[in-house]
Every structure is written in C-alpha cells, then in structure tokens.
Symmetry: C2
Subunit: 370 residues, 2 copies
C-alpha cells in the first residue's frame, strides 16, 4: 500500500470551513439513513431505524441466480447458492455496528463526504454461517495473506470505477464471530442491508461488513483496492499515507431527555427527577465505565452487561433537573483502557470521531395545575 | 380557521436564497429517511426504504397499556385495545404514500423545514380495520363535522407545544379505504411507522395518516390545531391564509439508469439501449399517461395498471443512449386532467412541489474488449 497507489481522492479531497452543508452532502444524508437518537431506547434497533451507508445503488439481486464464489489461492474453489449456505451450521449474534464516519459533520474543517452527526449506529440480531469453517473447506493456500470480499454494488468513487470490495487478513477473517449473514432480526436481509448475503465482522466499523457479497478471493499479496488502500484511513492530510481504519472506537450516546422542537431539535424538559438512559459500545473490549456529565460535573452511571460480546451495553442515572439551561454529556471507557476524547481528534477523512456527545437541555418549571 | 388563529410559524417562517443547507435542515434530513430513487425498482417498497417524516420523537409505547379512545360528539364512547381492533373486520390495501413536502429543497428561495429532494415516497401493504364501521358503532352525533386524530408523539413546533393531531371531515373519514392500520407488509407496525396503530388515508399526503394513534374525537366545530390550521397550507406568503394541503398531486419518478458517482450522485451509463423504468401516482385519479423526455424531446412511455386504486403504476421505455451528456425527464398526467408542471410552483411552506424530475446522464462508449 505505497503512497503512489493512492490515486485521486475526489470523495475526500475537499474540506469545508463553513457550518453550512453542500448539496452533495445533503444528497448523501438523504440516502444514508441515520438512526434517530431515541432509537437507543431499544436493546435491538427496530428494523428500519438501523443506520445505512451505501456507497453506490442498492442492487436488486435475483436469489435464484445469485452465487457466492470462493476462489483464488485455495485448494478447492467453491460456488454456493443460498440453500447450501443455509444448510451449513447456523449461528445468531447480537451485534452493534457503526459507520467509521459517524461524527464526521462535527469536525472543523469538515471533510466533505457523508455528513453524519451521531446517528450512524444500530444493533441487530444477525444470523448466518461462520466464515472460518467455509474457508477451511476451501483449503486456503499457506501463502494466502488476505481474503478479498467483493459486493455486487458498483459505481465510481474518487475517480475509480469499482465494485465495493474490502479485505481482511486470514486471521481476522477466521475469527470465531465472523459470519456470512443471510438473516437480520429473524428475516431474510432487506435489500438495503445486503440481500441475499453479507459479511458481518463484529467489532469492526461497518465498512468491513461487505453487503451483497458475491465473491471471496484468497490473495497472496495485500489487496490495494480503493476502499482498502485509499478510503477508510486515518490521515493527517492528503499526502499522509495514514493508518487503516479497523475496529470501532469506544462510544456512548444518550437518549435525549424530554421533548424536541421540530425545527431546531432543541430539547425541552420539565424540572424534576428524570432517568437518563443510553448505550455504550467499543470494538476493543467491553465497556467498563460510563460517566454522565451535567454542566461539567461528571458522575458514574449504572452500567449493565451486554447481551453478548458484540453488543452494546445500557447505562442509566437519575438527574434531578432544575430550571435553566444545562449541558448534558456522557463518556465511556473500555477494558482496553480507551476513553472517549472530550474534543474531536481531527483527521482528513473524518474517520472514527468518537468525541463525547454533549447537548443542551432547557429545563422549565412544570406547568402549574392551578 | 381565521388568519388570527395562525400564530407564530417558527417552523416555516424562514426562507433561504442560498443553495447551501443549514445545520437545522441537516438534522431533519438525517432523522427523516428518504427512499433512495432505486427503491422505485420494487413494486412494494422494501421495509426500511419507505420514507419517514416524524415531527417529534418516535414514541416507545407499551402495547399492553395502549388504548384507542373514540369520544367527543358520539353516542357511545369506545375504548379499544389491540386485540379488540384485530378481531374486527380485516382489510389489506397496497398504498402509495408521499410527504407533502417532497421536492421542497428544489424551491428557490427554499422554505426552511425538512429539506426533501425527491425521496419522500413509499408503497406498502397496510392491514387494519376500516374506520367507517367503527365510527358508525360509536354513533356520531348528527352535528359532528370532523374527526380529530391525535397521536402519542409530542413536542414543540412553531412555538406551540402539542401532540401531533390532524382532522378529517366526517365524509373523508368514512371513505371506504380509510383504515386503522396495525400491520405493514404483513408484520406489526415498526415503531417509526406508528406502532401499535396508525390512521391510513390513501390518496392524501402523509400528514393525514396520523401515527401512534391514541384518540379519535368527534367535534362540532372545525379543528384549529397547529398541524391543521397553520402547517400544511399552500400559502403565497406568511400573511396569506392559504389553502389546506390534502390529496397527493400527480407525480412520476424514474429509477436513475447506469451507476452513480459516490459523492456527486452523477449518473454514468454505457452507450446502447437501456430500459428506463419508473413509477407514477396521483391522489386525484389513476395515472393515464407518462411521457419520458430525452434532451427535451418527449415520447410516451408504456404504462402498467396499478396493483390497486391506492398504489402507484409502473412505466417504462427503451432509450438508445448515445455518447454525451443527456437530460432525462418524466412527466405524468392523471384521469382528473392534472399534469406535472415543468417548473416548480413556489409556495411559502414548500408543499406539493410535483414539478417534473429531470437529471443529467453521462453516456460513455462501452469499454473496448480489445
């Protein structure tokens, strides 16, 4: 992955110092659904509220004609249809996914791409067959270094025409919890979530979980495709070779209390005790601590265990809200010692911005009954 | 509905002459999901791709505690739980819904509200029980003039704290196809679509189909709530009393051919014959004609019948695309004689902009095999 292989980066070549949003960003924000923050109330995100990031068009695939090819540096090529995949060992996992660009629109200057605020998350029960045994069946060559996963979605990004494709090291691909998933929340995948089959890589940002999976190719040299070698890097600037984006950074988010104003989304709350609830997750270990901050004073929240090692954890605390405007925030730590930064850590592509969520709540005296 | 009753219109009081989008608009665009235009490939919109417009927060309602009250100017008040509603006569309808604000962001100046481009549409199979017989059972008073439908979603809009509420005349509410819907595409409503019960008013823009329905009140004077008397009006300016928004205006939309560029969504297509497909609908009668325009030359498309009187109709035509940049457009007529305007008809709230869709396609010579 030499610097010379990067090529043009039209998708990430522009920064904006304006708070205002471009038309190109609006088009992306309209297509790529964010979860509303109140979706955090549900332990499993209701279908249709889970975030979506789709680079090109949602393909409409014929399940009868569709096949998964496993090929390249393998002893036995495989070509599997849906029925063959469904007849293999079946496993369900509750997994929290997040887009690597979540929080991008909060950076200044703002990298011009999908302008996520904080809603690029979701938790679902995914069902499929583990990838590792299937790769064993294909007999990976000893000199295979990566698996390249290619989807059926096709378009142009950064001046490069491409099928969406990402790779994983052999070790990462053979991790126990990596699935070829054909069901989400007990139903066949919706078209926009990768029907009929997607890769699912728990703990990694969503770019790794290739949708509309058509091909798995074992390769003897690291994959240098656009989505692997150009996009999804932590870079200081356009010339920086950068570091690949991989696992999900620790994050916590609160359900905004009270009620919203339609246009501004300003939160309004009646004075008195209120239960603040939220969810926290990390791709580098269990969350071990969440603090909730009110006007800069931090207190530990009660933290619940996860439904599984790949799923988020609920936290809560009671706040006795007094009239006035208050700044509410939350901050999580994981078992690996990672903690959310108080301020965004800027990078050129706007990746992995897990800075603490903080928002104002206007607390009013409850309406008098008299 | 006197002009004096309008009150402040914070949600619609501002216009922008800038092409750039405000942060408030971005927040709304992130919450309120648009269907991607390629969703038009499916005769029934896959769940999760159907548009959503949610004024306040998605409520999380307890189906055990939830009741529907029918009260006001009635002989017999009713209070029904979900099981009682499900035991009533059951009816399923395939219905195309659209937000009244669809196309708003294409107006200049741009009314500052949810900045829809063209994706505020969706078609689903809705199942529920007809409203008319239930109202008959409640024995509407002869002097009842309207039914007021109130949802459980609550917040502030235009400076007014409110439950979302809309009314219909007795005649409109008793129309044969008005449902109390508890299923969408064969499953209980998703939370964001109104679980456990919503009103469904086919042929009307979506604001009439009140979600999270909690109360139906028969009233003897026209309802003057915010969403009825202030919002959802065709107005020349802020001082204009305006005309209420009601039925869906005729519209057609094409599936964009070829492939997109990630950032700009510019369409790229290989030269040669291509099947252009789209869907057309109207709340004022069946669609009777759709023309497709290439570089300003219009030709009739083949138009298919609808799956039902409340659902959209497919249209298609073959275009032999020659290299170069071409302007592709479509335009529909309905049986009532309504036709899509070639240019937007501006109004102060940005309602009902059904101007023709037109977009550029860059056609390239197919890659040579040599």
């Amino acid at each position: 992955m030499s610097r010379g292989a990067r090529g043009p980066m039209a998708g990430h070549s522009a920064l904006s110092t304006s708070r205002l949003i471009t038309r190109d960003e609006l088009q992306l924000a309209s297509r790529n659904h964010a979860a509303p923050l109140e979706a955090l109330r549900w332990p499993v995100t209701p279908p249709g509220m889970h975030y979506l990031l789709i680079h090109f068009d949602v393909p409409q695939l014929d399940p009868e004609a569709w096949r998964l090819r496993v090929h390249g540096a393998v002893g036995h090529e495989l070509e599997l249809d849906l029925a063959e995949l469904a007849s293999r060992p079946r496993r369900s996992l509750t997994v929290t996914l997040e887009c690597a660009g979540n929080g991008r629109s909060r950076l200044d200057p703002r990298p011009l791409s999908q302008p996520w605020d904080l809603g690029a998350f979701g938790t679902a029960a995914w069902t499929g067959t583990p990838l590792g045994p299937l790769l064993a069946e294909a007999s990976l060559d000893p000199d295979a270094v990566e698996l390249v996963f290619t989807g059926a979605d096709h378009g142009v990004q950064g001046g490069v025409e491409q099928d969406y494709a990402r790779s994983l090291s052999v070790a990462d691909a053979c991790a126990d919890d990596v699935l070829l998933a054909y069901e989400m929340d007990g139903r066949p995948l919706a078209p926009q979530h990768g029907y009929p089959l997607r890769l699912l890589v728990p703990g990694w940002y969503g770019m790794a979980s290739v949708k509309w999976l058509a091909s798995i190719e074992a390769v003897r040299t690291p994959f240098a495709g656009y989505q692997q070698a150009v996009a999804y890097h932590y870079q200081h600037d356009a010339a920086d070779a950068g570091t690949p984006v991989s696992r999900i950074r620790v994050r916590s988010l609160l359900v905004p209390p009270g009620m919203p104003d339609f246009m501004t989304r300003q939160r309004l709350l009646a004075a008195g005790p209120v239960l603040l609830r939220g969810r926290a997750w990390s791709g580098t270990g269990p969350v071990v601590r969440v603090d909730v901050g009110i006007d800069g004073i931090w207190s530990p929240a009660q933290l619940e265990p996860a439904a599984g090692p790949q799923a988020w954890q609920e936290f809560s605390c009671v706040w006795v809200a007094a009239p006035g405007t208050h700044r509410v925030a939350c901050r999580a730590w994981d078992a690996a010692g990672s903690v959310q930064p108080l301020e965004p850590e800027w990078n050129y592509q706007g990746m992995g911005n897990n800075a603490v969520q903080a928002f104002d709540v206007e607390v009013r005296e409850p309406a008098s009954g008299a």
